[in-house]
Point group: C2
Chain length 106, copies 2
């Protein structure tokens, strides 16, 4: 029986918004709060909650500063976050590829 191994997935990264954050930060050196919120089409509240969880896990790093006297919060992926994303990709690619094979056999 095929084991989808979904029980091994990193729950921290698998959640939709957090996967979006981590994937966007893998593709961009740094993103501001507003940029992340817009690219993920989510709310300030949702982004705050999920970004905090990723920050607490050490997957992303937050820099608060000022630009033209306006506050500017920037997010970056950490090396630990990069490794976690790499592992998640491997697991998820395995699950998807098994599901894809199953659909095509049917």
């Amino acid at each position: 029986m095929a084991n989808p191994a979904a029980d091994e997935l990193d729950r921290l990264i698998h959640e939709r918004i957090r996967l979006g954050i981590v994937a966007a930060l893998a593709a961009n050196d740094a993103l501001t709060f507003a940029e992340l919120r817009d690219v993920l089409k989510t709310t300030d509240g949702n982004l705050s909650v999920h970004a905090r969880k990723l920050e607490e896990a050490g997957y992303i790093r937050v820099t608060k500063g000022f630009e033209d006297r306006k506050p500017r919060t920037e997010y970056r992926l950490t090396p630990k976050g990069r490794r976690a994303l790499e592992q998640y990709l491997q697991q998820m690619e395995g699950i998807l590829s098994a599901a894809r094979d199953a659909l095509e056999r049917a």
Copy 2:
């Protein structure tokens, strides 16, 4: 800026246990409650809750019967569930492939 499009993912399938159920049923014509629980390494309670959500969405079909006078519950993927999994795979393959490209460029 790369758009991970994670906001478009089918939430019903993306949840870990439900993804496991749907993937396992794509790979097997029918599975009993106990088989699904064991392959997903989850609890009776968890499996019940998530299987019910998939059933309510019309993604899986449940057959209750008897075998050797013992109750036997079987789960199958419906055509609607198969189409939903197909669409989820396409979206998720896009997200993973963009994230993979980003990691390899870095």
